[in-house]
């Protein structure tokens, strides 16, 4: 392993190193809040390495990689985009956790450490092109989450952790079956090799995906990855786990885990199954699943009474919106910009990270004090906590998709990509779903601003939470008013994925 190989892997290595360092420092430091400072400051190292790699790319589609990592690692703008997103998500979630973890008497540092190990796995997911490595990275990201979900060690939390562990195991099994079938058919675990072999295979036009073996493989992989992104019908775990897990973990799951899932789906499907005949077929699967995820997520969200469950179903719905971008494969319509669907997904993921973390910051700040997740307890909150309510309302407005927030631009982009790919019916379903979503989103705002508060005690929040809210709502507003910079970045990241595959 040469220095160059280490450089290529430096963001992941430094993040894992930081996690280990925090674990060791925990042994000698009494005040646990130092560990959070260490983490947030230390995240500058992986961030710096990622930016350095981005700089060294210098226009090339991917980094030169001829060492031992030749067959497994790919360092391109696409992967680096996700690394930036994930590092930012870890930083924000750490900020959210500082006050939250004070309720655990012990293991405060382990909370952070597990978070960072999981993020390391997610970063690897975004930058590997080999099936076995994908699987390992996926497990690395999932196992710490199971522990994190059970962190509160009460009944709900333990149940949440165990459910995640078991269901994640089932979905991993499905994924492995799929991978095995694809390997059996093509004789390779390399994504680009798989694509080459598939192109030479005989195609039976009466069979979906050209052959039953590939059909099984692809559908099982969709199931395995669908679990990660909470796509219908693989979303059942989400509400229970989200509700039981500590709220910062819920935020992490809904943003980071989902982003990593989409990263790996984009990489696998565009690299290995990118040829026209196949992409038309899998995009149809994603289109139908997108429609169902949106509709189911939004309809069930209406009936919820707990804020965390509401956000869980909302996250399922948003997975649906993002999958609209996944389904918008340009080969369907045969014209236009082939990277449009990919860049729409990437833009939506970044916007979703900002707005969802803004909402979660405010929810954590409020429910920390009132010790309740019930929506009805948010009544009249605008009078008790004007700033927190404003952030929450702003985030919700963005989730609804109203300008001038990033949620609006993200929806326009995803739906635009779908129209361009000839998926008008899906866009109509998406727009109808946005209306349904407005019903339960705006009800929260109405409750906060127009109802009488049960008590008039004002609610204060700590500095870390305020910082998190400031950063995320600034992102929501900034990317809503001036999305051009981010748009250009995701476009070039999408181009990178297409050219490396």
């Amino acid at each position: 392993m040469t220095m160059h190989d280490i450089y290529l892997l430096s963001p992941e290595l430094s993040l894992a190193g930081l996690a280990t360092l925090v674990l060791l420092v925990d042994l000698i430091v009494k005040r646990k809040s130092y560990l959070f400072v260490l983490t947030i400051v230390g995240l500058a190292v992986p961030l710096g390495f990622t930016l350095a790699l981005l700089g060294s790319l210098d226009g090339a589609s991917m980094m030169e990689n001829e060492g031992v990592l030749r067959d497994t690692l790919v360092v391109d703008k696409f992967g680096l985009f996700f690394k930036l997103l994930l590092i930012s998500a870890v930083a924000i979630v750490s900020l959210l956790s500082i006050d939250y973890v004070k309720r655990f008497e012990q293991f405060q540092s382990e909370f952070l450490v597990l978070l960072m190990y999981s993020a390391t796995g997610m970063m690897l997911m975004a930058s590997t092109k080999e099936l076995i490595t994908i699987y390992i990275a996926l497990e690395l990201s999932a196992l710490p989450v199971a522990a994190l979900a059970a962190f509160m060690r009460d009944g709900r939390s333990a149940e949440s952790g165990l459910k995640f562990l078991i269901l994640s195991g089932i979905s991993s099994a499905l994924l492995l079956y799929g991978m095995v079938l694809v390997f059996g058919l093509t004789g390779s675990t390399q994504l680009d090799d798989i694509a080459e072999r598939i192109a030479t295979l005989a195609i039976y036009t009466d069979q979906p995906f050209g052959s039953y073996a590939l059909l099984m493989g692809v559908v099982l992989m969709v199931a395995g990855f669908g679990f990660k992104i909470t796509a219908f019908p693989f979303q059942m775990w989400a509400p229970d786990v989200y509700e039981g897990a500590p709220t910062p973990v819920t935020a992490f799951l809904s943003v980071a885990s989902k982003a990593a899932g989409f990263a790996v789906i984009l990489r696998v499907f565009y690299s290995a199954f990118g040829i026209e005949e196949l992409s038309i077929e899998w995009s149809a699967i994603f289109a139908v699943l997108a429609a169902l995820s949106m509709t189911i997520g939004n309809l069930v969200a209406i009936a919820q009474r707990s804020m965390k469950r509401l956000l869980a179903y909302s996250t399922i719905a948003h997975a649906g919106y993002i999958m609209v971008g996944l389904a918008a494969v340009s080969t369907r319509a045969g014209s236009g910009d082939s990277s449009l669907g990919i860049s729409a997904v990437l833009f939506y993921l970044s916007g979703y990270a900002a707005m969802n973390l803004a909402v979660f910051s405010a929810v954590i700040a409020i429910s920390n004090r009132i010790n309740s997740d019930a929506i009805s307890d948010f009544a009249g909150m605008a009078r008790r906590a004007p700033y927190l309510s404003a952030v929450l309302a702003f985030g919700i407005v963005s989730l609804t998709g109203i300008p001038p927030t990033v949620g609006f631009i993200a929806k326009v982009y995803v739906f635009g990509a779908a129209v361009d790919a000839g998926l008008e019916w899906l866009v109509i379903i998406g727009v109808l779903n946005s209306v349904i979503a407005a019903y339960y989103y705006l009800r929260v705002i109405k409750l906060m601003y127009l109802s009488e508060p049960p008590s008039t005690d004002s609610i204060e929040s700590g500095i870390p939470l305020r910082l998190a809210m400031l950063v995320t709502s600034a992102g929501v507003l900034l990317f809503g008013l001036y999305p051009t910079g981010l748009l250009n970045f995701v476009k070039s990241a999408a181009q990178a994925l297409l050219s490396t595959s």
Partner: protein
């Protein structure tokens, strides 16, 4: 060509142009987010913040005008910035800096600056001091953004923001029911026009394919001009429909007949707000819009004639109501409507440059007159009713002198600013062949006499004769300042008035002289800067219009000063007409009682209400029930049993496989 621009003059750069907009916006943000919540005890600061930032904007606007002038009045071509691009849809934002933009910037920032200085005196001690300046800065920022926009959607956003700000400012004293009602009225009436504007934009956007075929963007204002120039992109009738939609928007904002009713009621706001609305923002936006999209109007004779007719009717219609009003601000309001009619009329006869010239001069004297009215009202304890004023000439010499200058300018007396611009409008209309231009010329000429009459009626009733008690005598004023004797206003108010008076005298002749002034060539503003080779100065028309104006002044003198003609006798001899005029042609009744209450509220709204309750609400209830029940039903699947979750997970795979196999 433009010798008065020094050689070392550098062309303005785009970031500096953005600053013209960002300064007032910054003042708004500082006032509303920092001063008002945290330092409200130092609310005096907010006035200074606004004035300083507007001074910076004004200086940069002068710079912009100079740069465009140095460029021989041609547009400075800054490319628009891409904002969102999805497939074929391209949304840009940018600055369109041409002579029209630059001149509007100068008027908006200049007048607004003077109004803010005046406001620091006028609003002293008001509990909403910093809120007032926050709104005023946002108002100015929106208007600046509106005139700079290079994209129609961008323009529309600022258009709506201008509407919002006027709503907030007219209803500034929202605890007064009349102010709240006036704000609502202004918002709703202009909304009718905005709907037309929006339809126009949508229709234009639907023509996108023929634009993109020529590599043009339908939402880009510059590209519309190019498209009209090509002649093949949109047909004359399409252009006409779009233009009419836009004109409806302009009618609402500029208070053209029959959407004028909001403007006189807008008097409920603080007086400096009126002076800003009537001079530089809001109402000017409508005229600006038509001038900006003049190529669209030019492409369709029907649209152009409509503008001319509406303008012509408004001129006389509004002036006639101004004849009988007793509230000084209402007279001025109808005068504004009438003057805006002149501008529309000028555009309608194909002379947008002349219209903008009149907008330019009108801004100064109308702002001055409103400030004068405010100064008078301050002096007499808060009333605006002229029947309780009188004799103020001796106690308020500065106010009297500036008000006299403003009145003369508005009446169009040689050699004040209003004379030159009004004369150009009359000459443009008269110079056009055809029935409509000649007819509106006639209307415009009649209105000249009316204008002079109502203006000097105001002047004589307010400043001549004996003092009649002011607010103490006015039964309509409920709460007023402790009774005081009339006095001259503070210098923070008089200063801007004196500057405006100077502009009301000189702005017309200096900017657009009829002879070559050496540095400034003949007809510089209209010919060289706004590039319009329309009618020249016409001595005959000048003589006739001056005669008409003097006739009006004389009539006012005979009726209100020498009392040779008894106003009472005149009124009683034309009692029915007087009643119709003072009831404003029953338009408020028509709109409020007949249209709003009977047609809209009982008829249309009743039907809609039924539709809303039965169909829409029913649908919502069905969806709500459906959603809730379906939601609950699916929620039931959420048993919490991990076994069933695993089963669904695996079952899902089988279903997908089954469907795919079945479909193939």
């Amino acid at each position: 060509m433009t010798d008065f621009i020094p050689n070392f003059w550098q062309q303005i750069e785009e970031p500096q142009a953005w600053l013209i907009f960002l300064f007032p916006l910054g003042a708004f943000l500082v006032n509303s987010l920092i001063i008002r919540p945290f330092f409200n005890q130092y609310s005096k600061l907010s006035g200074w913040i606004t004035v300083v930032s507007l001074t910076a904007s004004f200086v940069l606007s002068v710079y912009a005008v100079g740069s465009v002038a140095a460029n021989d009045g041609r547009s400075i071509g800054w490319a628009s910035h891409e904002w969102v691009e999805v497939a074929n849809f391209k949304m840009t934002v940018g600055i369109m800096m041409n002579s029209l933009t630059a001149l509007m910037l100068l008027v908006v920032t200049g007048v607004s600056l003077l109004v803010q200085i005046y406001s620091m005196g006028y609003m002293k001690g008001d509990s909403g001091y910093s809120r007032y300046f926050a709104y005023m800065s946002l108002f100015t920022a929106s208007m600046v953004g509106l005139v700079m926009s290079s994209n129609i959607v961008q323009l529309f956003v600022f258009w709506e923001l201008v509407g919002l700000c006027s709503f907030l400012l007219i209803g500034f004293w929202f605890h007064k029911p009349s102010a709240a009602a006036a704000a609502k009225k202004a918002f709703l009436v202009t909304r009718v026009g905005d709907f037309g504007f929006l339809l126009g934009i949508l229709y234009l956007f639907s023509q996108g394919d023929s634009f993109t075929a020529n590599n043009l963007n339908p939402l880009e204002i510059r590209d519309i001009e190019k498209a009209i120039g090509l002649g093949t992109v949109i047909s004359s009738s399409v252009a006409g429909w779009i233009a009419l939609g836009f004109f409806l928007g302009a009618m609402g904002k500029s208070g053209q007949f029959p959407l004028h009713t909001w403007l006189p009621d807008a008097m409920e706001g603080p007086t400096p707000v009126s002076s800003l609305i009537h001079a530089a923002t809001m109402v000017a936006a409508g005229v600006f819009l038509v001038a900006r999209f003049f190529p669209l109007f030019e492409a369709s004779p029907v649209a152009l004639d409509t503008v001319a007719i509406i303008g012509g009717v408004t001129v006389v219609f509004a002036a006639s109501m101004g004849l009988v009003m007793n509230d000084i601000k209402r007279v001025l309001a109808y005068s504004t409507v009438s003057q805006l009619g002149y501008m529309m009329l000028a555009i309608g006869v194909g002379a947008p440059g002349v219209a903008i010239f009149h907008l330019f001069t009108h801004a100064f004297f109308k702002c001055l007159l409103f400030q004068g009215a405010g100064s008078v009202s301050h002096a007499v304890g808060g009333t605006f009713d002229m029947r309780y004023m009188g004799g103020l000439r001796r106690v308020m010499p500065w106010t009297y002198a500036t008000f006299l200058i403003g009145s003369l300018s508005l009446a169009g007396i040689f050699p004040l600013a209003g004379f030159w611009s009004k004369d150009e409008i009359l000459a443009s209309a008269q110079g056009q062949a055809g029935f409509i231009p000649q007819a509106v010329f006639g209307l415009a000429l009649i209105a000249v006499t009316m204008t002079a009459f109502y203006m000097f009626r105001v002047l004589f009733m307010t400043f001549e004769g004996d003092y009649k008690g002011g607010a103490d005598a006015d039964p309509d004023v409920e709460s007023h300042a402790p009774s005081n004797t009339p006095h001259e206003s503070a210098w923070s108010m008089l200063g801007p008035m004196v500057i405006l008076a100077l502009l009301a005298i000189f702005a017309g002749f200096v900017a657009n002289p009829i002879v070559n002034l050496g540095a400034i060539p003949e007809h510089w503003l209209v010919h060289d800067f706004l590039h319009e080779s329309a009618a020249k100065f016409n001595l005959g028309i000048a003589a006739i219009s001056t005669f008409a104006a003097i006739l009006g002044i004389l009539l006012a003198y005979l009726m209100y000063v020498s009392k040779t003609i008894s106003a009472q006798t005149v009124v009683s001899s034309v009692r029915p007409i007087h009643t119709v005029l003072s009831r404003k042609y029953y338009f408020d009744e028509l709109y409020e009682d007949l249209l709003t209450t009977r047609v809209f509220y009982r008829g249309l709204a009743g039907a809609l209400d039924w539709f809303d309750r039965c169909v829409v609400d029913g649908l919502v209830r069905v969806i709500d029930n459906f959603g809730r029940n379906i939601g609950r039903l699916i929620g039931q699947a959420q048993t919490g049993q991990v076994q069933s979750y695993g089963a669904v997970l695996s079952g899902g795979v089988l279903v997908i496989l089954g469907v795919l196999l079945f479909l193939k």
